[in-house]
Amino acid sequence: MNIHPATPVIPDASAPVVFDNVTIRYAGSSRPALRSASFVLEEGELVVVTGRTGSGKSTLLGAVNGTVPHFTGGHLSGRVTVCGRDTRTHRPRDLAEVVGVVRQDPLAGFVTDTVEEELAYTLEQLALDPPAMRRRVEEVLDLLGIADLRDAPLRDLSGGQQQRVAIGSVLTASPRLLVLDEPTSALDPTGAEEVLATLSRLVHDLGLTVVLSEHRLERIVGTADRVILVADDGTVSHGLARDVMASAPLAPPVVHLGRWAGWQPLPLTIRDARRAATTLRADLLASSATSPGPSESRVHDTPAPSGVGQRVVATGPGSPPAGERVVATELEVTHGTVAAVRSVDLSLRDGEVAVLMGRNGAGKSSLLWALHGTAARSAGDVSVLAASGTRVDPATESPKVRRSHIGLVPQSAPDLLYLDSVRAECRQSDHETGAEPGATRATLDRLAPGIPDDHHPRDLSEGQQLALVLAIQLAAAPAALLLDEPTRGLDYPAKAVLGGLLRDLAANGSALAVATHDVEFAATVADRVIVMSEGRIVADGPATDVLCDSPAFAPQVAKVLAPLRLLRLDQVESALTATAGGSR
């Protein structure tokens, strides 16, 4: 595999990326998005850029190939040099053969419609001669293991395959540097794994420098050489992954566990953490042996124990037991000729958070929409226990009545917003649900305090938009709420807020179902986990059992502490304190 730069490389002083005192300010913004950033990225490094939503991660990544400010506007002071070329004088298109850029949604960046043509597109723009083009496309097809997909229409590929094609499409130009903006945020764990494994291979086999941003650090920080942390005020700190992680506010669970336990050196991977955790595991095993009763129940129950008393297992064919808010029997959904959901029996109980997991296309969204009644089902029954105590089929209700029984927050939540200010959205929501004026705003302030009334909903961060949509859906006071991929684009603090909120709703007796790919989020909210595959439910049980038993879905803490059945750091803490101060 001989991929090397297509253009003469200026010797020395041409590290892949040099940021020299870079400050970037957008027009109309009071503070710079990036403040005096200075760093050098070396050959063959895997660099993770992290920071809170809106902190300037994308600005930093965009500045690497000149998209900022050439394409986005804004003012850049200082100097960015990429392989010896100054982005001041080189537009993104002039850097195409040294920097490859891959974005979050691969489909949005595709110009052609089949894999092979997409791989060739960059080369066509670079005017490579056809034989060389042909050879490079074949090389990249093999390198990424997508040769059998060469004629496939891009739209028909899975998310992970699409993202690998997107990487391949910039790799054909033999860049020295890959820049990826949240490449895995739309992918299921398997797809994300594929993409990250590919990236790590490119770094190791080809010596490519890879810079990527990622909210879910647990996926990538173990293989990263260096971490760049963009703070909220735009300042940038960078260093070896282990050094930055020792104090970074945003860190994956394994790092939090390591910090809590005081392990030195700080483990970043499951492997290192398991080696360091030998004593901790022994302590925990000893403590669970001495006091099995309380410790066991603490471990198996999730933080809000409200749902426990109401767990009813039997679902007879007659009228469902009390507490079963939503009941589906023999539910089937087809899209054209494709069966998305196949004879699913499911009940959602009051006071319980059920998390739906499974790979992309497993039928999670279809199931949620069919339970909600807005999308048609092809067979089966769905009933929701109405406030009046009767069971109704949501599909036969009018949309207005339906949302007072059951609410749904779709995958692209901002679709629900169409007015020009937060104030107008809240008023409209009060109006359409008949809630008393100010009710939606009050809910919103509880979920995400301090969102200004006059802001445009589109200008809010992902977390704030989600909070607004949730407040709107909750205005109708449904007893059941379904959420489809609510954590997309949320950083750790925003996910923690969302998790707390869902637990509160459940504690107040709502029945909740959340479809998510985010294992760590599932570990924080789930009472019960349902795993779907090819439209069928393949596992359904208490969160601890399902999550701990599956290697794919086990959260990091569970992987480190197996065979102990602990999902989160707070469970570890309470398991130890339960036996009055176990030593670390």
């Binding site: 537009r91 993104p92 670079l126 042909r134 169409y418």
Partner: protein, 363 residues
């Protein structure tokens, strides 16, 4: 050049499909004989059914047929509403509304309705021909065959082509979201509520795509002098204008012959020179360009033959190409025209099958 017979499966050159379809469309435009028109639509459908690929637009041919049917209905409805009513076989009398210079509704005659339907059918068959070309020739591959001076316009067209299905997707998604907020999703008021998120979505996508293309080297070109740019623009524009007028003259049987073929040739020649001049500054190469072989010649030729035979027939016996309505009679079946349209079915046998996309490993 590969011999006809059992060609390997590959994409036929998109220009060949378009020449074939335009030939058939020219033939259709010269007649309102329903027998010939239906024959032409059947031939187009036959070829599409035999040779279309698996791409989304290949599946869209049915939409063009539906659109055609709608046009026939619309044409008849317009005739009923405002058309000039003529004939002897009265079917039904609607109350007529006299307005200055125009009569709405009124008595309906079989002849008038049939003539209107035949006119509608002619338009529908033109649309079917264009639809066939669209279904058979991947529009994106067609644009790859464009001269490099038009490359950037071509890319713009490709993007607008992809925007349409995405737009439909967005509209559907947003409408479902509106239902989640308790609205029926119908009615004029909901249009604005759907439009804003959809527009936002489209804008975001466009920006994302533009940025992606920019960072992949799109639009790299060597500097070009102002005079050369102006020359390119003038030549291309005049040429295209000439070609447009020429095409109009060719399609409209009543136009003077001078603004037919000669104008078209002149226009195309001017455009070609302009593109040659402009293309010099574009540095770009084409990956696996579509070859032009014997099947391409045969497919394009079959369309041209259909057009030529129809024009010849029109020269010999123009009456045979019209639906006789005064008095009403069965339409004739002119041999030459029928032969021409049947020749247009040749691609069913000579065009290579489109490659089947391998889907193993995809979801």
């Amino acid at each position: 050049m590969r011999a006809a017979g059992t060609p390997l499966s590959r994409h036929l050159h998109p220009v060949a499909w378009w020449v074939w379809a335009i030939g058939l469309a020219v033939a259709c435009s010269r007649t309102n004989n329903p027998l010939l028109l239906l024959l032409a639509v059947s031939v187009a459908s036959l070829v599409v059914a035999a040779k279309r690929g698996s791409s989304p637009w290949a599946r869209a041919f049915r939409l063009y047929l539906v659109l055609g049917a709608f046009i026939i209905v619309l044409r008849v409805a317009l005739h009923v509403l405002v058309g000039y009513k003529f004939g002897t076989m009265k079917l039904y009398t609607l109350p007529s509304v006299e307005l200055p210079g125009i009569t709405l509704l009124g008595p309906l005659y079989l002849e008038g309705i049939l003539a209107a339907a035949a006119e509608g059918l002619r338009l529908a068959s033109l649309i079917a021909c264009i639809g066939a070309a669209n279904a058979l020739a991947n529009p994106k591959r067609l644009l790859r065959a464009l001269p490099s001076a038009l490359h950037e316009i071509g890319t713009a067209v490709v993007i607008s082509v992809t925007v349409a299905p995405q737009l439909a997707e967005s509209v559907q998604r947003v409408r479902r979201a509106r239902v989640l907020r308790g609205e029926g999703g119908a009615g004029i008021r909901s249009v604005g509520r759907v439009a804003l998120p959809v527009l936002q979505d489209t804008l975001d996508r466009s920006l994302a795509l533009a940025s992606a293309m920019d960072s992949r080297g799109y639009g790299r070109r060597t500097a070009q002098s102002t005079s050369s740019r102006r020359l390119t623009g003038a030549l291309t524009l005049t040429g295209l204008l000439g070609a447009g007028i020429g095409m109009y003259g060719l399609l409209d049987g009543t136009a003077p012959t001078l603004i037919g073929m000669p104008m078209l040739v002149l226009g195309l020649a001017l455009s070609a020179i302009g593109m040659r001049v402009g293309g010099r500054s574009v540095q770009r190469s084409v990956y696996r360009p579509d070859p032009w072989g014997l099947p391409e010649w045969l497919v394009a030729g079959s369309g041209v033959v259909a057009a030529v035979l129809m024009v010849v027939q029109a020269g010999h016996a123009p009456d045979s190409l019209a639906l006789p309505v005064q008095p009403l009679a069965a339409p004739a079946l002119p041999l030459l025209a029928v032969l021409g349209i049947l020749v247009a079915a040749l691609p069913t046998f000579v065009a290579p099958d489109p490659p089947v996309a391998r889907r193993d490993g995809t979801r």
